[in-house]
């Protein structure tokens, strides 16, 4: 589309606008607040219910009070009591998501630099192909690779999850980084090169520091996607010592055979989600920029 510069920050029009609202404080402005309250309830109520349920005792898990009465952390102790290897699963998730993110970033930075700064034939074709791969269905990767990995003995290893994860992490990283690097002016690098920097030096000393915010945003997005990944981890690993947290909680049957341990499941769900919620709270503006930078161009 047109060459719109990167949206500076989602808030700009908002900050310019309050005077408009001040004048007419009728039912309209109240209806706005009602609408916003509805959005808050919509987004947070299910999550809140998970949180509340996780703090109930097993005996009153079916209570429907809005606060846990009495408050109890017993589910959290049970989650970590060792029978479920949940702590190990969290560590596995961290390793898999961390390595996936790092690998995708390294490959993505070089690819994005080439696409945004160099001229070569078939450039838009290559970018198109890389982006097109991101719509590849996970199952179409899993079925053939499952067989390959069985043959070469990779089942129940970290790399069996990390390598297929790159199928969605690389397109995500390349695309985000390319959009970001394209938004940076070429002039600074040009000036550096006129002053005698080599291309590599201009890249390392000028472009990379400038692109750091974009790299960081990409890292957050890639990490969240890899942390949430399910079908690959479910298929490639069946050893509880290697499986990731999302798979571990889906298989959570707990100690009792008779009833699904909902309290523990909710507690485990909260634990898996909390790192993401913290990231969202701290980096919300970056995340939104990263998510929207491609779509609004």
């Amino acid at each position: 589309m047109t060459q719109i510069p990167v949206i500076p920050a989602v808030e700009t029009p908002a900050e310019a606008a309050p005077k408009r609202l001040g004048k007419r404080r009728g039912w309209k402005s109240y209806s706005v607040y009602v609408g916003l309250a509805a959005i808050l309830v919509y987004c947070l109520a299910p999550f809140y219910w998970m949180l509340v349920s996780s703090f109930r005792r097993t005996s009153d898990i079916f209570d429907n009070s809005l606060l846990p009465q009495p408050f109890s952390a017993e589910n959290y102790f049970k989650v970590f009591d060792g029978s479920t290897m949940f702590g190990q699963a969290l560590l596995n998730s961290l390793i898999v998501a961390g390595v996936t993110t790092a690998a995708a970033l390294v490959l993505g930075i070089f690819a994005a630099y080439a696409i945004s700064r160099l001229n070569f034939r078939f450039k838009s074709v290559i970018l198109g192909v890389i982006i097109a791969t991101s719509m590849f269905p996970g199952i179409s990767v899993v079925v053939p690779l499952l067989r390959l990995f069985t043959d070469i003995g990779w089942i129940n290893t970290y790399q069996a999850m990390i390598v297929p994860n790159l199928s969605f992490a690389i397109p995500l990283a390349v695309w985000n980084l390319t959009t970001f690097m394209k938004s940076l002016p070429f002039d600074l690098e040009e000036a550096a090169m006129i002053d005698g920097c080599s291309k590599w030096q201009a890249f390392r000393k000028v472009l990379l520091p400038l692109a750091a915010p974009g790299v960081f945003t990409t890292a957050i997005l890639t990490f969240i996607h890899s942390w949430n990944e399910f079908i690959i981890a479910l298929s490639m690993v069946n050893d509880p010592a290697i499986q990731t947290a999302t798979v571990a909680i889906s298989k959570f049957t707990g100690a009792t055979e008779f009833q699904a341990p909902f309290g523990e499941q909710m507690a485990a769900g909260v634990i898996v989600t909390i790192p993401l919620v913290i990231m969202v709270l701290i980096f919300q503006r970056r995340i939104v920029e990263g998510l929207t930078s491609g779509a609004t161009k």
Partner: protein, 305 residues
């Protein structure tokens, strides 16, 4: 230079995208056979069946299961994306009018998006328990997580909850690059709120909305985690193509699993291409790439002078 920088990325993509695609095509022409041979020994192995796995998609037991999964996938994609788009637009409109507490709103709207789908499946499974909060609130005794229409509804509710905010966020970003003057002019000309939405916001936000809808369509077509965790594998009323292919490969029937995976891939590709061709969604920003390469080449010409 460019080749050197791009080759690692392309190499990895070849391993995790091109190889699986070719390998799936190849494997989909074989079938696992086990039976007794003429001497009474158990013989196991794979036999070449050509397009047998594909022709089987329309007959017999496999055929019924495939058509059911195909129908479910299509049904879930159409219903959830339609609902998400409407709801996402409403969310964006409401947020675009909000001036205070916007960052808090933004953080809370990101939470459904950030929750892992597997966790949200568990969460909704708990909400939809027979004696859970959903039945309690609407005073019913529906078995949401068993087979049947109710389970489809449960999937749709959970999916829309998680993904409507995503559309809302993208559309909001598109709304915020519309200059305020346009609205001002419309107001001076006497256009009311709805008229402004219809004549300014919607047309100008359309490119962004199209991209968001395309993303969601492609994502919904490969739906797996949510039905898998919320209802469970092998349930007829919610089995999607991804789940069917996964189940087949779990049974070591790689041939038919590959055929299902190929069909799903083709389905996704056809939808994507049709969407881009018909509605003209500029996903890759290719026009921009061209504009940029033009700009850099003129710069070179200037530098050469």
């Amino acid at each position: 230079m460019a080749a050197m920088l791009l080759s690692p990325t392309l190499l990895v993509l070849a391993l995790v995208i091109a190889y699986p695609l070719i390998s799936a095509l190849y494997q989909s022409m074989f079938r696992q056979q086990s039976g007794l041979d003429a001497d009474g020994f158990v013989s196991e192995g794979e036999v070449f069946v050509g397009l047998g796995n594909y022709t089987d998609l329309f007959v017999g037991e496999t055929g019924a299961r495939f058509l059911n999964a195909f129908g479910n996938t299509t049904f879930f994609t159409v219903t959830t994306v339609a609902l998400e788009t409407i709801l996402g637009l409403c969310l964006a409109l409401a947020m675009n009018r909000a001036f205070r507490g916007r960052s808090f709103l933004r953080a809370s709207i990101l939470i459904p998006w950030a929750i892992p789908t597997a966790v949200s499946g568990l969460l909704w499974r708990w909400i939809f328990q027979s004696d859970g909060i959903a039945n309690n609130l609407i005073g019913s005794e529906i078995l949401w997580t068993a087979e049947g229409v109710a389970s489809k509804v449960a999937i749709i509710v959970a999916e829309v909850w998680k993904t409507a905010p995503f559309i809302g966020l993208l559309v909001l970003a598109g709304m915020q690059i519309i200059p305020e003057e346009v609205y001002e002019a419309a107001r001076i000309d006497g256009a009311g709120f709805w008229r402004q939405v219809r004549s300014i916001t919607l047309p100008l936000v359309k490119p962004t909305l199209l991209v968001a809808v395309l993303f969601r369509l492609l994502d919904a077509l490969r739906m797996f985690d949510l039905p898998f965790v919320l209802i469970g594998p092998g349930k007829e009323s919610v089995e999607t193509l991804s789940m069917l292919a996964w189940d087949e490969s779990n049974q070591l029937r790689y041939g038919s699993a590959s055929a299902f995976a190929i069909i799903l891939f083709l389905y996704v590709a056809v939808v994507a291409i049709a969407f881009v061709k018909i509605l003209g969604a500029d996903v890759a920003g290719t026009k921009e790439v061209r504009a940029l390469s033009r700009a850099t080449s003129t710069r070179k010409v200037k530098a050469a002078r």
